[in-house]
Amino acid sequence: MAMVRRLLGLHERLSVVDVVLALLRIGVVVLVVTGVWATLNKGTFTLKAWESLAVSGVALGAVYALIALGYTLVYGILFMINFAHGEVFMSGAFTAYYVAQWLFLSGFLAQNPVVAFLIVLLVAMLVSATIAVVLERVAYRPLRNAPRLVPLITAIGASLFLQNTFRGLYGAGVKAYPSWPMFTGSLHFGDVEIRVTQIVVFVAAILLMLGLYWFIERTRTGRAMRAVSENKDVAAMMGINVDRVIMTTFAIGGLLAGAAGILYTLLFNQVLFSMGFVPGIKAFTAAVLGGIGNPVGAMVGGLVLGVLESIGPYLLLDGFNIPTPNQLTTVVAFLVLVLVLIFRPTGILGTKDAT
């Protein structure tokens, strides 16, 4: 036994937990490989179908990445998960619906669609940023020194509060955005057909992420944010206004979430008071998947989660002849989270503390 251990490079005694985890690892790998091989063998989907699923996964993943950035930035500074961020995402998109509807009815949208789109985008971003800042001021700042569990519960409470406030303000019905005339149709890249909306979503998300990167790396406020996330007290001693920096972080998270809201409506053009809850949780999953506290991790996690959600259920389960695997999309997404937390808790790219 000792020989085997030395051969395998194990220096400690194997505990039951280690054995179980190792078996679990092997089991998961076997299941995944079998499922994928069986599905590809069964051939329900053509390569073109997989490609189009992957493309829509990337587009959705870009939206998740933008929302995940909000989670990750706040965690980096305050070490708390802002569970109300999904509602921040919803508030911008829902409020901007009324602006879009007004522009559509007045004919402005038909005449100047690009300007109208930019107006709607701006309104969404500003509303989301405002809600985020108000949230920080009212719900989180008084609890800055409380034990970690308290702001977490407050966040959940704030999420419910915002959901129902917007339900009361705008009604419980589903509202549909008017369609944007310049975003119709699709482009062909070789064999793959990509819709214009998907391209717009992806490009916009990349631009926003680059903008965030430039902001954090090249501006003074960005430097202050990095300093506060490294060590709040020393940053305060260096003359940085910590409260202002935290407010700016929430505002930036809000701006990104507002933009994500409009991009989400490009893909699925309905808004509803409860539309923020599930994307919020999925974006949190994406942030953890990529490494919580790490902005690049949030982006990578978002894209990975989007693709996994799109392709995963059918790729893994169709081979086992499980009917309607698409109903298990959320299950697959969270299963990935659970597995990542078991086997690599710091996420794909590692958390802020690990880097």
């Binding site: 329900t44 989907f45 053509t46 073109k48 179908a49 189009s52 699923l53 829509s56 959705l60 419980a172 019905g173 589903v174 509202k175 549909a176 008017p178 369609s179 699709s186 057909e193 819709r195 893909l267 699925f268 053009n269 309905q270 509803l272 409860s274 539309m275 599930v278 959600e309 799109s310 392709i311 259920p313 059918y314 009917p323 309607t324 698409n326 109903q327 999309t329």
Partner: protein
């Protein structure tokens, strides 16, 4: 300190006891006292003999009719439309058994949870004589169970799932004036075979009893009547927004027709995404009565153009509908046209209940009105040749009272146009 604690404990217990005694539903609803009318039956004995007792109203109390309809949320037009039908019936009827009628409205949420909540709410009020509802079959299954256990009659203008009137699962105090989906599924299959002449179809349901059972009836009839093939029967979950994967899977089977008898939110998204899915460009899209509402057209936009929908036939015979009902509907609702398809069924359901009340009512010398619950149920089930807007209604022992006629409409230029039969 000890004395203070003891005092507060005593007072708390006293308050709890008082609250329990004063809670509604704690006092029995059966009749008490009052000398009986010599002619006819003695209310005291009848009500004592009735397993569920009587609803008692004082001489000037209004009769309390409950409703449980989907009045909020994505399907609110379905529920509000039925509710307006009830209001028109009450307005045009005037007094029932010499009493005014008032409504107690609740929301069925178009879900099992909503049905449970609304039924529990209504059951707690002992003055409710009967309930018009629910809108959605998912709510109806739960609500019928709860209300039947308390002897409160539930008459649905909108539930269509076959299981609600199946002898194996039918609740005793439940009936409906809406059609049974066994008829709608068969009619849609007939339309697909004879008019659209399609050879293959795929279906999508959202897991609700209504959608699941309707698409199954359609699939069975499609296979048997025109030897068509069902390429796949898929399911989605309510609240889902991304249907790319399921639509891609359906496109792989190349169906001629895609039938998704679901509700507004998911239906609109599927319609839009189906138009964008490669492989479904030539597939005909079709839905059912859950999406026959202007809300769906607003949500789906131009993607819904040319789509077919099965639903109850609104081409009613006689002039009452056009000349009396619709103007009153517009006056009460403020809408320029009915917003869904079950308003006439709700009107008929309300009047059926009122007719049954007139038949079984009892009064005593003091002028109190007693309505025995089981007798009311028997009277409603005994309805035969009731002249309603939706036709001559006769209830069978399983609770199907409808004169079921199904029609198919098509979306043309953003409006529903009846095209068949």
């Amino acid at each position: 300190m000890q004395r203070l604690l003891r005092w507060s404990a005593t007072i708390t217990v006293l308050l709890l006891v008082l609250a329990a005694c004063a809670a509604p539903g704690a006092s029995p609803s059966s009749s008490a006292g009052g000398s009986a009318v010599a002619s006819g039956q003695d209310p005291t004995t009848v009500c004592a003999a009735d397993p569920f007792g009587c609803v008692k109203y004082g001489p000037t109390d209004p009769i309390n009719l409950g409703t449980s309809l989907a009045i909020t949320g994505a399907n609110s037009s379905l529920g509000l439309d039925s509710q307006y039908g009830v209001k028109v019936a009450i307005a045009l009827r005037g007094k029932v058994a010499g009493h005014d009628v008032k409504e107690t409205d609740t929301d069925d949420g178009c879900s099992a949870d909503g049905g449970t909540t609304s039924a529990t709410q209504l059951k707690a009020d002992p003055t409710i004589v009967a309930v018009v509802g629910t809108s959605c079959s998912s709510a109806g299954i739960k609500a019928a169970e709860i209300l039947s256990a308390s002897g409160i009659f539930l008459l649905s203008p909108s539930n269509t799932a076959p299981s609600l009137t199946d002898p194996a699962s039918h609740q005793p105090f439940y009936a409906r004036t809406a059609h049974n989906d066994k008829i709608q599924g068969a009619a849609m299959a007939d339309f697909a075979c004879t008019v659209l002449k399609v050879k293959s179809a795929a279906t999508i349901n959202d897991g609700s009893p209504y959608a699941q059972q309707l698409q199954q009836v359609f699939a069975d009839n499609f296979k048997s009547k025109c030897a068509g093939t069902i390429t796949t029967q898929e399911a989605i979950t309510v609240g889902q927004t991304d249907f790319n994967s399921v639509l891609t899977k359906i496109a792989a089977g190349k169906p001629n027709l895609l039938y998704y008898p679901i509700f507004v939110a998911e239906g609109a998204l599927i319609t839009q995404q189906a138009k964008q899915t490669a492989g479904l460009e030539h597939t005909i899209l079709a839905g059912a009565d859950g999406i026959q509402t202007p809300d769906f057209l607003a949500a789906a936009g131009s993607a819904a153009e040319g789509m077919y929908m099965s639903g109850p036939d609104l081409a009613f015979s006689g002039t009452f509908y056009e000349s009396t009902f619709i103007p009153k509907y517009k006056e009460i609702s403020g809408e320029s046209a009915p917003i869904s398809v079950f308003h006439a069924h709700a009107f008929d359901a309300t009047n059926m209940i009122f007719d049954a009340i007139e038949k079984v009512k009892l009064t005593d010398a003091a002028g109190n009105l007693y309505i025995p619950r089981t007798a009311l149920k028997d009277a409603i089930f005994a309805t035969a040749n009731f002249k309603g807007i939706t036709g001559n209604l006769t209830c069978n022992s399983d609770g199907d009272c409808a004169n079921a006629k199904i029609s198919v409409v098509q979306v043309k230029s953003g409006k529903y146009v009846r095209i068949w039969p």
